[in-house]
Amino acid sequence: MKRTTGAVAIASAAALLLSACGDTADTADEPTTAAEDDAAAEDDTATETEDAAAGDDAAATSEGAAPAASDGTSLVIWADDLRAAALEDVAATFEEETGVPVTLQVVANENLREQFKDSVGAGAGPDIAVGAHDWLGELVQNNVVAPVQLSSDLAGQFTPESVEAFTYEGQTYGVPYSVESLALIRNTALAPELPASMEALVETGQQLVADGEAELVMAQELGQEGNAYSMYPYLAAYGGGIFPVLEEGGFDSTEVIIDSEETVQGGEKIAWLAEEEALSVSIDASNAIPQFVEESTAFLVSGPWAIQQITEAGIDYEITSMPDFEDGGETTPFLGVQGFYVSAESQNPQIAQTFVQEYVSRADVQVSLYEAGDRPPALVEAYDQVSQGNTDIEAWGQAAEGGTPMPNIPQMNAVWGPLGKATADIATGDDPAERLATAQSEVEAAL
C-alpha cells in the first residue's frame, strides 16, 4: 500500500504541477515542437509540391499552393485510434493538395473531451478534434470551439439532424460525419423471426429461456447506476422524454418533462420489461455485449460499436430498428452524431476551416471514415453510396431516421445522472410516477 501511496503522490504532484503551470509551459513548448516538425517536414513538402506543380499544374495551383516552403505551419488533428487511422489518407490528400503538413495525434476516446477542453483552455491543443455532438454545449460555454460557417449549399448536403446536432443557439460549430443510434441486434440462429413488437420480443425471449436455449430474455445496458441514454427509447415511447421536442426540430430545453404523464407511461414500460426479466440492473456496459456474443441471449439492444465483437465471434445477426409496443408506444432512441470541431485557439484557423468544410464534406472522405467506424455517414451522398447492398448500414440508417439528436446543451450533464439513477430504481421496483417525479425535481434544481 505504501508503494501505491508514493506513486499516487508523485502522480498527483506531477498532475497538479502540470495543471498549475502547465498552461503557460505548454504554450511555450507548442510552437517549438511544431516548428521542429515542420523543419523535418519542410523538405518533403517542398519537393512534393514542386513535383505536383511540374506534373499536374491544376492540382498545385487550385488551392494556391505555390512551391513554397512551409513556415511554422502544421495542422494538428486529435482523434481516437480508429478515426486517426481512417484519417490518414485524408491527411495525405490534404497535404498533397495544399502543402500543409498534417499531424494526426491519437488521443484515447474517453479522454478526448476533457483533454480537448483543458488544453484549448490553456491556449494550446489541436487545430481540429473529432468528437461527439453532445459535447458541444460544454465546449461553447468554455470557448473551446470556433463557429464553422457552412455555406447553405453545403449544409443541405448533410442529413438535417446531423447538422442540427452541431448547432447550438443558432450557430453551427462542427461538420458531422456519422450518425449512430440504438437498434435491435438479433441472433438469427436463435430467433429467426423478427419480433413484431416489444411484447413479442419478450415472449420469444422467455420461450428461449424456458427451452434452455438462452439464459437471458434480452441484453441491454442498464447497470446499478442506471443509464438514461439506453432507457430513453422507452421513456420517449409515448411522446415523453427529457425536454419536449420542437416542431422545427431540436428540444425546448426550458421545460423539463420527466414527470409528465407520457414519460411515466414510458417508465411503466421499463418496470414491465424488468418484471419480465428483459431488463436488469445486473447488465451493464461490461457484460451486455459479451452476453450476446456468448449466445446467452438472442436479443441485444446496442449501437454500431457492438458489431465488431459480434462479427469476430462469428454470430449470424440482423440489425433492425427497436420494435414498438403493441399499445402504440414507439421506441425512440437518441441520435449520436460524430463530427469535426475547430479549436477556438487554433493557430491556423483558416486552414483548419478549409479542412473541415472542404475536405471532411467530401463523399470519399466520409466513406473512408465510415469504413473505420461502421456508422452510417452523415453526408447523404456518402450514405447512399455505402448503403448500396450493405444491409447493416441500411438498418443503422433506418434506425437513425427521424430520430432526434441528444440535446447538446451543457445542462444535459446534470440530467444523465439523476435520470439514469431513476431508470435503475424503476427497474428494481420503485414506482415509476413517484421516482420520475423525484428525478424531475432533482434535474430542475440542477438546471
Partner: protein, 563 residues
C-alpha cells in the same frame, strides 16, 4: 538559516573567504563546480526565455528566483547546510506548497465549467460566437493579398474576392462574349463571368478584371498591383486574417474569411456596451453581468453561454456548511469516511498479523513459498483487481453469489456495498500488513519471550503482554499511515462502486462515497463541474486528514514512550 549566521567564524577568516577557498580546494573541483553552476543557470535562462516568449511572468519570476538561490548558495562556502537542503527545498516548494496554495486560491473562486475564461475573453467569445451568416448573401471566393512590393509580414492586408457567375448565366457565357466585358456588367467582371472585388477594412471596391487570373476553385491567383499570398504565407498572419472584416451594408454586416479560399457575409448579433457593462442583442435584449455570467435583464431566457472566473469569497465554504444536500451528505460521507479506513486497517491488520504469527512459527515448512503466494494480491495492480472484484459482486452473474448460493444485491444495497468494499480492501490490504508484521516479529528478540515463559506465562499471555506491545511500537506509525491512505482511497471506491448506490432523488451523494470521491464528482462528474467548490471540499479534507494524522501520530508516539 540560523546556521548561516553561525557559519562564518567556523569556515575560516571572514575577511577573505576566496583566498582560503582557493587554498584548500583543488582546482578541478572549483572548475567543475562553476561549470555545473553555469550549466544550471544556462538551462534556467533558456526556460526563462521560453516563459518570456509565452508571456508567463509568474514562471519567469520563479525561475529567476531559483537561479539566484543557486548562484548565492553554491558560489560561496557560506551556506554549507543549504547546499544540501536547496534541491529538496525547491522541490518541496514547487511540488507540495504550490499545489496547496493554488488549490486554496481556487477555493475562493467560481472556477469551473462555464467559468474558465477571464471576463474580457468571455466578452470576445460571446461576440465571436454570435456572428451569423447572411443566408441570402453570396459566398465569395477569397484570396489574401498585400500590395505589390510589400513584405508578407508587414504589408497591409486586403481580401481579393470573387463572386461566381450566377448559375443561369451558364448559357449566356457561350453566346455573349461580346456583351459581358464592356457594356453589361462593368469592368470588374472577367470573361468567365466572375465579379471581382477588393475588400479592405474600409469596405468593398470593384477590382478591374484586366490582368487578373482566376483559378479553378474560383479564387484570384494573381492581380496587378497585388501580391497574392499562398496558403503558408497567409497563415503567417492567420490571426489578423481571422479578425479581418470588410464592412458591407450599414448594420455591421461584413465579409469575413470562412476558409482559406472562401469568405462569407455575416454580422455579430450581440454587442458589448462597455459603459453599462451589458451585452445587447440585435433585437435590443439586454444581458447584465451577474455571478460570472451575462444574464437576461428581464429574467426571460437562458444566460449567455460563456462565463468568466471571479472571486466569490467564502461562498464555496458556506455552501459546504449550509446547503442542506451538502450538509446532510457531508456528515454521512464523513462518518463512512471514518469507518471505512478504521475497519479496513483493523481487518487487514488482524488478518495480516494472524497469518504472520502463523508463518513465523519455526516448525512450519516451506514458508518462503507461502509468503510469496500471500504477497500476490499486493503485487497485482488495483486497476485490474478492482474491476475484477466489481464484476464478481454482480448480483446476477457475479462469482460470489454464484459460489455462495446467496442472492445479495452487493452493489445495489447500501450496507451490502459497504461490506463489499471492506471485503475487497481486506483482500487487497492484508498482504501489506502481513509483510510489515512479519518483519516486526522477526526483530522481537526471543529472549523476552523465553523470559515470559520462565515467568510462567502461557502462549496467549505472551502474545498479549509481550509480543503485541513490542509489535505495535514497530507497526503503529505504519497503521496510522495506512489509515491516512485509506482515508483517501479514491481508486478502490471508484473502481468497485463508483460511490454508489445512490439514494433516490440524490445523485450527488453516494452511500459509499469517501470525501475525495465526493470532491471528484463535484469537480468533474456532476452536471456543471465546479472546480472552485471541489477545491473548497479538498481543503476541508486536507484539514481533516491533518487533524486526524496529528492525533494519530501523537497516540503512536505515546506508545513509544511507554517502553
Amino acid at each position: 538559516m540560523s546556521q548561516t549566521v553561525a557559519d562564518p567564524p567556523r569556515s575560516g577568516p571572514p575577511q577573505d573567504p576566496h583566498v582560503s577557498e582557493v587554498a584548500h580546494t583543488p582546482v578541478w573541483v572549483t572548475v567543475t563546480r562553476w561549470v555545473l553552476i553555469a550549466l544550471t543557470i544556462g538551462v534556467l535562462a533558456y526556460a526563462a526565455q521560453q516563459a518570456i516568449e509565452a508571456g508567463a511572468w509568474l514562471i519567469v519570476i520563479v525561475v529567476a528566483f531559483i537561479a539566484m538561490s543557486v548562484l548565492v548558495v553554491y558560489s560561496t562556502r557560506r551556506f554549507i547546510p543549504l547546499k544540501y537542503l536547496l534541491p529538496g527545498l525547491i522541490l518541496l516548494l514547487l511540488f507540495q506548497m504550490w499545489p496547496i496554495v493554488y488549490t486554496a486560491a481556487t477555493a475562493f473562486t467560481n472556477y469551473g465549467d462555464g467559468h474558465t475564461l477571464s471576463k474580457e475573453e468571455a466578452i470576445s467569445a460571446i461576440q465571436a460566437q454570435s456572428v451569423r451568416q447572411d443566408p441570402d448573401a453570396p459566398r465569395y471566393g477569397m484570396s489574401v493579398a498585400v500590395p505589390e512590393g510589400a513584405t508578407v509580414q508587414n504589408g497591409e492586408l486586403s481580401l481579393l474576392l470573387t463572386v461566381p457567375p450566377a448559375e443561369d448565366a451558364g448559357e449566356l457565357e457561350e453566346g455573349a462574349e461580346e456583351g459581358i466585358g464592356a457594356a453589361e456588367l462593368g469592368e470588374n467582371v472577367t470573361a468567365d463571368g466572375f465579379q471581382l472585388f477588393v475588400g479592405t477594412e474600409e469596405g468593398l471596391e470593384p477590382l478591374a478584371a484586366e490582368g487578373v487570373e482566376v483559378r479553378g476553385n474560383g479564387t484570384i491567383g494573381a492581380a496587378p498591383g497585388y501580391r497574392v499570398l499562398n496558403l503558408m504565407e497567409a497563415n503567417q498572419r492567420a490571426q489578423e486574417v481571422q479578425d479581418f472584416a470588410v464592412p458591407v451594408g450599414e448594420d455591421g454586416a461584413a465579409v469575413k474569411p470562412a476558409t482559406t479560399s472562401q469568405a462569407f457575409v455575416g454580422q455579430p448579433t450581440i454587442s458589448y456596451d462597455e459603459e453599462n457593462d451589458v451585452m445587447v442583442t440585435a433585437e435590443g435584449k439586454r444581458y447584465v453581468a451577474q455571478d460570472g455570467n451575462f444574464v437576461p435583464e428581464d429574467g426571460q431566457g437562458a444566460v449567455l453561454p460563456a462565463g468568466w472566473t471571479e472571486n466569490v469569497g467564502f461562498d464555496n465554504f458556506l455552501t459546504i456548511f449550509t446547503d442542506p444536500t451538502f450538509r446532510g451528505g457531508f456528515l454521512k460521507i464523513f462518518l463512512w469516511n471514518l469507518a471505512f479506513p478504521l475497519l479496513s486497517v483493523a481487518s487487514t491488520f488482524i488478518l495480516g498479523m494472524l497469518l504472520a504469527l502463523l508463518f513465523n512459527d519455526p516448525r512450519l515448512k516451506g514458508k518462503g513459498i507461502y509468503r510469496s503466494l500471500l504477497i500476490l494480491p499486493y503485487a497485482l495492480p488495483i486497476f485490474v483487481t478492482g474491476l475484477v472484484w466489481a464484476a464478481m459482486f454482480n448480483q446476477q452473474f457475479g462469482l460470489i453469489n454464484e459460489v455462495t448460493g446467496l442472492n445479495v444485491n452487493w452493489l445495489g444495497d447500501p450496507w451490502a456495498a459497504r461490506a463489499a468494499l471492506l471485503i475487497t480492501n481486506l483482500w487487497l490490504g492484508f498482504p501489506y500488513m502481513f509483510l510489515i508484521t512479519t518483519g516486526a516479529l522477526q526483530s522481537i528478540p526471543n529472549d523476552v519471550k523465553e523470559a515470559a515463559a520462565v515467568d510462567g506465562a502461557g502462549p496467549v499471555r505472551t502474545l498479549v503482554s509481550v509480543t503485541m506491545p513490542l509489535l505495535l511500537v514497530a507497526v503503529g506509525p505504519l497503521l496510522v499511515a495506512s489509515f491516512a491512505f485509506n482515508f483517501n482511497n479514491f481508486t478502490l471506491i471508484y473502481l468497485v462502486t463508483k460511490g454508489g448506490p445512490f439514494d433516490s432523488g440524490n445523485s450527488l451523494v453516494g452511500n459509499t462515497d469517501l470525501l475525495i470521491n465526493f470532491a471528484y464528482r463535484l469537480a468533474l462528474e456532476s452536471g456543471q463541474p465546479n472546480i472552485g467548490l471541489a477545491s473548497a471540499v479538498s481543503i476541508v479534507i486536507f484539514m481533516l486528514v491533518g487533524a486526524i494524522s496529528y492525533i494519530g501520530f501523537r497516540q503512536s508516539a505515546a506508545l513509544e514512550e511507554v517502553n
